[in-house]
Amino acid sequence: MTKTVPQMPADPADGLAAVLALRRLADRLEDGEVERALADGWTWEQVAEALGVSRQAVHKKHARRLADSGLPQRRR
């Protein structure tokens, strides 16, 4: 069995910049997907479990932003 390792760039500057860009991309995706799930009727608990974090963590990170954007708030 051959093991494949993700090929990261040889230069650490490129590798570290890739980490930063991926983190920012992941944050943007998370914002959109959390919003979509809640709009689809998911509970905060379900969203948190799907993301592998606590309900408190996901709520703290997103509740205020989504309230500001006018998304109807369901039960936590």
């Binding site: 500057a13 991309l25 944050d27 914002d31 979509r36 954007s69």
Partner: protein, 160 residues
Amino acid sequence: MFERFTKEARAVVHRAEDEARALGSPTIEAEHMLLALADARIGGAAAALLREQGLDPEGLHAALAHETELSLAAAGVAIGDFELPARAPAARRRPRFAASSRRALERSVRAASALGDKRLTARHVLVGILRADVGTVPRALAGAQVDRVALMTRAEQLTG
């Protein structure tokens, strides 16, 4: 830290917050301060210097987008693979200063001192941003074929 900042330098910081917000960033990064400086109404002589290098707001946005694209590509990710939703605007939450912008401001203060200037102006903010030799801004400038060190030297020589 802001007590020595002129009105113009404070305007750069305020505008950077708007730039961060407009891009949906929860944090104010050094690149948002550079975008603020690139606006002629905010950056003045610093904006003119950036414009000479093709770094008007539009050119700078393009350079930053290109940097993101290249950095993601290095990890085998194409940004076109994702249908990115428009982020819900963080209406009441103010973006906070990230490490990159804090470092740039600290370097601006040091640059003003080193140049013997009592007041910290927009050009010092530009010098402070350009002093970073790693990170998003230097990478975006390199990608746009801009000589960062030469630009920094010219920014130090600006008057006002």
